[in-house]
Symmetry: C2
Subunit: 407 residues, 2 copies
């Protein structure tokens, strides 16, 4: 994990994907989602930007992922991304793939950019074909100016709020900005890839370095959240770096590489946490910090098993300090550790010490679980590695939302 | 999997663990559970019986498992099992282990059997010490006659019903009986072991053959169910075979081995299905049958991923034929298969054919999902292996039960 002490970035108030120089974004309602909700969004860079992506590991890969991957692979550059919500264009066969290509072409034509510099993304219902007349006419109405807030709204499905962030970091004496927007609320259990997130920066950084940084950061952010254990067919994170900041090219030999990496990781983690907090039906953000693990992989396994446990999630919803479920999840996580050395805290209350129950103050522990952000800390006393995972509680509303999402 | 065509057993009406010759069982209320519920159960064989067990793979193994494993390992024999519900005696350190040993000793003394022929099991709240005065005085009140129904009741926690079954199968011209009782409702996601189940038989079978059969059967029964994805610290299945039926010794060279195996598997699968159907908050049993897989492991992975998916479970609760969630779960299961060859049925409605959506009758599919037993069939067209997994739907009551189980 990139250490926090390297952090020397400033959070930009109301920052978004257009905070970096040379980016524009917008959104429109084209009639795919009900109630005239925004459902077509786009991001555009004045000039072609170095690009990198990570994609779902689900065996079923949605058509827009195949098309976008092809674009990014062409020469590692993107100039624009178009996204629709409401229909995922996943499990839609050859017709779905042809539609994703047609969507890319219409967007590239409309913006006057090279075909392989355009990316497409879709999110929503699986197994339904896109209404291509709405998509094409919607794209043909895109103007080169728009509102970043509309983009952040247009990519949502069951989300209850937009998810945006931006930071500024000084590199080579010039300010570099990194902005991002994401969506995700259900079917969230990223696996080496993630839900939809779009990150922009005006940094000068080649696409291979960008890809390396994205992959490393994904393991500490998007891959450390879960809402319901279901890995989506459409997970994707795209990063565009258009170089407008004019810094010296960033790579691991640059003296300020760690500083930039920390700022980039902050953006990724904030977007990931915003998704976890807005999990379907969630009333709380749950953060699990695992420390003194033998390996980072062990720490990650335990953190993810705990935030993924339905029993832990329901106990947090009910503010029940039922720590037995927490160590049970650690026990089946597959991580290597000694059960007789584990200690557990709920907020500041130590509930397990060296594998044994403590006489903790139940009222105090329960009070912590009633907070809007719950912290569970695990100490393994096995080594010096650590990881943090984020999730949410399991409420009646999760069931309500998912018993009737489609029909 | 042992094929059904080998099945030549008869189901015994109201059968239970005392259906085989020479077994007795009973239960009592000793004040661990509230409302005077039965919470101490015991099974006893007239003579020492060949015994085998499978145990949880959770890193935290409850004290009674350690003691029981020691008993079974001593000479592969058991004559009695004592079980308490209400407190799991898990994560209770050295005091908990000493309590489990004391529980075994009191039980062996009371029945006048060898110490290492006694097994103990506990189920309930994690991290709390047993009230040993209640346990010891309860054990000292055990008479050698009791009701099998009381045993089945005494091992329950959040279960809403008892889980019992027995079959009769003729081997060497003599009738052999196999009976079983199980408990389990939450924290159900067995992994190479299971929740609590106790199987008795009067068959003549050596303990190593019994163990081999138990392990094989577990993979097709207890290990194929899930309620909430949480693997418990106390999972255990014990089998006792006292040989009173007088058949020739059973082993794989016996001409009727497959016949006996099929009867044994039926008992295991019935107990497993009863647990899945009584999952916390469940309103339906969900059965997923995966056929034409390349390997049995692939078929199992897909079946378990589908029954474990919160999104699939919530859709079944809402009778929503949202098949996208089903193939998404197959896609992230880790199984090897071609997405463009998969077909999916909800009951008799084919909803996906060769990876593409069909124009199915939504009303008919939804009607099937309203049934008390829901069948999802997956055909991979990859080979000839198959597997069946069982689970339940996800309802508001699951959240209700688990938000307030302890406090």
């Amino acid at each position: 994990m990139i250490k926090a002490e390297e952090a020397a970035y400033t959070i930009i108030e109301n920052g978004n994907v257009t905070s970096p120089s040379g980016f524009q974004a917008g959104g429109a309602a084209i009639g795919i989602r009900k109630h005239n909700k925004l459902d077509l969004g786009w991001v555009y860079s004045d000039i072609p930007a170095a690009a990198a992506g990570v994609y779902t590991l689900n065996s079923f890969r949605a058509a827009p992922l195949l098309v976008t991957e092809e674009s990014v692979a062409f020469e590692g550059k993107l100039q624009g991304v178009v996204v629709n919500s409401g229909i995922a264009n996943a499990c839609t066969g050859e017709e779905g793939l042809a539609n994703a290509y047609a969507m890319r072409k219409a967007f590239a034509d409309q913006l006057g950019i090279q075909l392989q510099h355009a990316a497409v993304a879709s999110t929503g219902l699986i197994g339904v074909q896109l209404s291509m007349d709405k998509i094409i006419s919607g794209i043909q109405a895109i103007k080169d100016e728009g509102k970043a807030d509309d983009f952040a709204k247009a990519i949502l499905t069951t989300d209850t709020c937009t998810k945006q962030v931006a930071v500024s970091v000084e590199i080579d004496g010039v300010p570099i900005t990194i902005g991002g927007a994401a969506k995700g609320s259900g079917m969230i259990h990223p696996n080496m890839a993630t839900m939809l997130a779009f990150v922009t920066t005006d940094a000068v950084i080649p696409n291979d370095m960008l890809e390396q940084l994205l992959k490393k950061t994904t393991d500490n952010s998007y891959n450390m959240i879960t809402v319901d254990g279901d890995t989506s067919t459409n997970d994707m994170v795209l990063v565009l770096a258009n170089g407008k900041a004019g810094n010296k090219e960033l790579n691991p030999t640059h003296p300020e590489w760690e500083k930039f990496s920390a700022a980039f990781q902050y953006v990724s983690q904030e977007l990931a946490k915003k998704i976890a907090r807005d999990g379907e039906g969630a009333t709380k953000l749950v953060e699990v910090h695992v420390q003194q693990a033998k390996t980072a992989a062990d720490a990650r396994k335990i953190g993810k098993a705990i935030v993924a446990s339905s029993l832990v999630k329901a106990a947090v919803y009910g503010a029940d300090p039922n720590w037995g479920r927490i160590i049970t999840a650690a026990g089946y996580s597959g991580a290597s550790f000694s059960p007789d050395k584990i200690s557990v805290w709920l907020g500041d209350s130590m509930v397990v010490q060296n594998g044994n129950p403590t006489l903790f103050d139940e009222a105090e522990a329960s009070e912590h679980l009633k907070q809007e952000a719950v912290l569970i800390t695990i100490d393994l006393q096995e080594g010096s590695e650590e990881a943090t995972a984020w999730g949410c509680d399991l409420s009646y509303d999760y069931v309500k939302i998912n018993a009737s999402y489609r029909t």
